[in-house]
């Protein structure tokens, strides 16, 4: 059966001042991406972006965002992302740059990758711990990293695995 395929770009927002990250919201990111695509790819890019593009997930604490693009034009719109220099959120400009760390066919694969990535980041932070308490917290967090599965998810997994390329 014909299935609507899309690509999910897992991006990390890098800022110098982490307090500004908390101001992120999805409308600001949507507006910024559409604006930059209009600038780089013109009316044609803006049209590609209007239907099918959305921001699926934002984590303001770690700065991770999921962007959804249609499969046909995701590479073109991906090329516009490095030109983002700042995101305007709630009246403040957050100077930042976007770093794409993963491209997945479904949100589930992106989630799986994100869990592995976060565990990796936590392990990197472990040697830098200053107190035993922090160490214990991080070790507990690493052990807690897992994807909770329900029985409906397992049936969907078989179908979704076709999409992953």
């Amino acid at each position: 059966m014909v299935r609507v395929k899309s690509r999910y770009l897992l991006c990390e927002v890098n800022v110098t001042d982490r307090n500004l990250l908390l101001l992120l919201d999805d409308r600001a990111v949507t507006a910024t991406v559409k604006d930059v695509v209009q600038r780089i790819h013109g009316d044609y890019g803006a049209a590609l972006c209007s239907f099918g593009f959305s921001v699926k997930y934002i984590n303001a604490v770690t700065g991770i965002i999921f962007l959804r693009f249609p499969k046909k034009c995701y590479k073109q719109l991906w090329t516009a992302l490095p030109f983002i220099t700042s995101i305007e959120a709630r009246g403040k400009k957050i100077p930042c740059f976007l770093n794409c760390i993963y491209v997945g066919g479904t949100i589930r694969t992106c989630q799986k990758f994100l869990i592995r990535y976060n565990a990796h980041q936590l392990r990197r932070m472990l040697p830098k711990c200053k107190s035993d308490d922090e160490k214990r917290n991080i070790q507990q967090a690493i052990l807690d990293c897992s994807l909770t599965r329900t029985h409906t998810d397992e049936a969907e997994d078989a179908l979704e695995s076709e999409e992953d390329e």
Partner: protein
Amino acid sequence: MRRESSLHARSGDMSFVADFHQEALKKDQGPERYLKIQLELEEEVSLSEVEFRFFIVSGLRSLHGEVGAALTFDLLEHDEVSNVAVLRVSREGLVKLWSSLTLLGFYKNQRCAFRVLQVSSSPPES
């Protein structure tokens, strides 16, 4: 291509025929395309080469953004009276250039239209 034919000339007479045939085949595989266009305006306005080029780049920028505006094309011949011009562009850029010429509708508040008279992969003779 000229260089090749002069090299082949030394090896024998029959190679001329093969050479000509090869050149004819190579025509469509050339890396460039030539577009002969005419700009029609409501009133008779003659544009200089610079204005013409700027107008085309502004059309590319509006349809294809900065990537389109960076597309390299050459304005080979330009007739100011009749506003006929020959553009040379790479094969990949032809679609972008042609589509932005089609969608250019206004020149300084005057309605305008680009008529494409000829498209070829070798330079026009005239």
